[in-house]
Amino acid sequence: MPYEALDFYDVDSLLTEEERMVRDMVRDFVDEDVIPKIEYACRDGVFPDEWRVALGEMGVLGAPLEGYGCSGLSYTAYGVICRELERGDSGLRSFASVQGSLAMYPIWDFGSEEQKQHYLPKMASGEWIGCFGLTEPDYGSNPGDMITKAEDMGGHYLLNGAKMWITNGTIAQVAIVWAKLDGVIRGFIVEKDDPGFSAPEMKGKHSLKASVTSELVFQDCKIPKDRLLPNVEGLRGPFSCLNNARYGISWGAVGAAQACFDSARDYSLSRIQFTHPIASYQLVQNKLSWMLREITKAQLLAYHLGQKKDAGTWIPEQISLAKMNNVDIALEIAREARDIHGANGILDEYCIMRHMANLESVKTYEGTHDIHNLILGRHITGIQAFTREL
């Protein structure tokens, strides 16, 4: 059965013609090059290199950035790209999010002119892969207390510390690493072959299996002075990147949910039990209509946030709400879809359990579900509840 993207309220009719053409391009790529290979990629635990090449050729890496070989699309178009990629797999969307929002964006916004010219064209074309090192083994939701530090040795910087849960780490040529220099968080561009830098892959994941996840280890890692991102200090740097990536996730989750809904609808119409399709039973219809309801709301949330991003009228708390809500409902939809598929739902013949397992990661990364609630709680009350004196 060809994929039918649920769009109950015709939200895509609000897109520009250009945005719809970008949607069709990415959807076609996912249909032809991703869906037929994704289960093999998951079994082998690899991110197929031809996807990197195709993403670069299509021009979707760093899509909303202007200049330096980037496409300069709207943030709404970037959201649509994320949605269509994540309909294929969250690991694929993660690759694009990390490359564009977490690795290219900080160079584009906080880098020197030389850094932009050196790195961005090769990253936009996919020739160089980027990764983003913020989270550490002991500092996830609380990155401000990170241990990784940089020392100014006069002629170079010396990095020491470790990062964990780094998408693309092992396959990246370029790592944006956040470390404390004289107690202040700064961004550094680390290259694959820098002495004292290694990026071992983390194995054994039950989630995002077609995505490379790594540790970044810095042992007296020596990097030239011109690799410091000159134009940002403090947590504002990494959080600016995360705002863009989280925005993309709010769209991406819709794609995963649409894929699960599509599969559940088709399955329930063809699966006969007690001589009738299970879609004819009220309990199943209740689940399907709940999915439709939540996907429709999530689509409207993502679209309106995209318009606000493009108009420059957004606040980070609005991104928190959309990321949290849309991933939350996508995960619940995947679970319900798994239920509708019965025993068949555990097989990789269907996409749903893969999406379900992926979304467990997506719920946790880029600000956990709970942390986004605390961000909203602080916005509502003016009282931060992340930490307290015990």
Binding site: E18, M21, V22, M58, A63
Partner: protein, 253 residues
């Protein structure tokens, strides 16, 4: 050199087709696409342009919805977009459409013309030979590949013993079967350029061609008859019945 590609927008092969009042209900078509053989023609034309140079003009006839088709052609590399505005395209017969296309081809100055061997909706298969006849061009049908060979063009088509290569010189029309490569995927750069590209809309009056009256009257469309339900046989004793049916009714053994 100007290369023209004649394109037709048809309901996507995955779209559900419904018939209402004896006519296909176009308003119920969820997705319109290139006719698949036209995609092969467009890709082959793009490849010829890359080798031989020149301008590629994409031409379609139909209602306003066809502009999307031209934008999609521009996104993969068409230089000029021509929309022959014909809201009543379904009331025109094949010869009338060929007259419009031929007039547009001549106006565009194209001497090498690519099209699909037939459209996925009507399957009439007459556009290539019909346009060739009207403009006095050579025509090669069922083409899978076209190469420029200095003086003219060599087209590959099937023959009774495999493949044959047919040499022609311009003006010539190539009606494409399945080609060697599928139509390329656009990229964002192409899409952004396509957005800015003007579409030239040519009315029947502007083309100044007398297309005459339609010689074909379609009484009604009807959906394909539903397939009769399958028959199920179980157990070893049914073998002779099954063999009998396969031999006498299905004629497959």
């Amino acid at each position: 050199m100007t290369i023209a590609v004649l394109l037709k927008q048809v309901p996507d092969t995955t779209a559900k087709i419904s018939v209402n009042g004896g006519r296909v209900d176009e308003s119920a078509v969820s997705k319109w696409s290139f006719s698949p053989y036209d995609e092969y023609a467009l890709e082959a034309a793009l490849q010829l342009k890359e080798v031989a140079g020149g301008e590629l003009v994409a031409i379609t006839a139909g209602p306003a919805r066809c502009e999307k088709l031209l934008r999609d052609a521009a996104a993969v590399g068409a230089d000029t977009l021509v929309h022959i505005s014909a809201e009543n395209v379904n009331d025109l017969d094949s010869i009338q459409i060929q007259k419009l296309l031929a007039a547009a081809v001549e106006k565009s100055g194209a001497s090498v013309i690519f099209c699909g061997k037939q459209a996925a909706d009507t399957n009439a298969g007459s556009t290539g030979p019909g346009v060739a006849e009207l403009i006095g061009a050579s025509c090669v049908t069922l083409v899978s590949e076209v190469a420029a060979d200095g003086a003219g063009y060599t087209a590959t088509r099937p023959s009774s013993s495999g493949h044959e290569k047919v040499g022609v010189s311009a003006p010539c029309v190539f009606a494409f079967d399945k080609g060697l490569t599928e139509m390329r995927r656009p990229n964002v750069r192409g899409i952004m350029m396509a957005k800015k590209k003007p579409i030239e809309t040519w009315s029947v009056a502007y083309l100044g061609v007398d297309i005459g009256a339609s010689s074909v009257n379609i009484d009604s469309h009807s959906p394909p008859a539903e397939k009769p339900p399958g028959q199920k046989f179980e157990g070893a004793e049914s073998v002779s019945t099954v063999v009998g049916k396969l031999r006498d009714e299905a004629n497959v053994i």
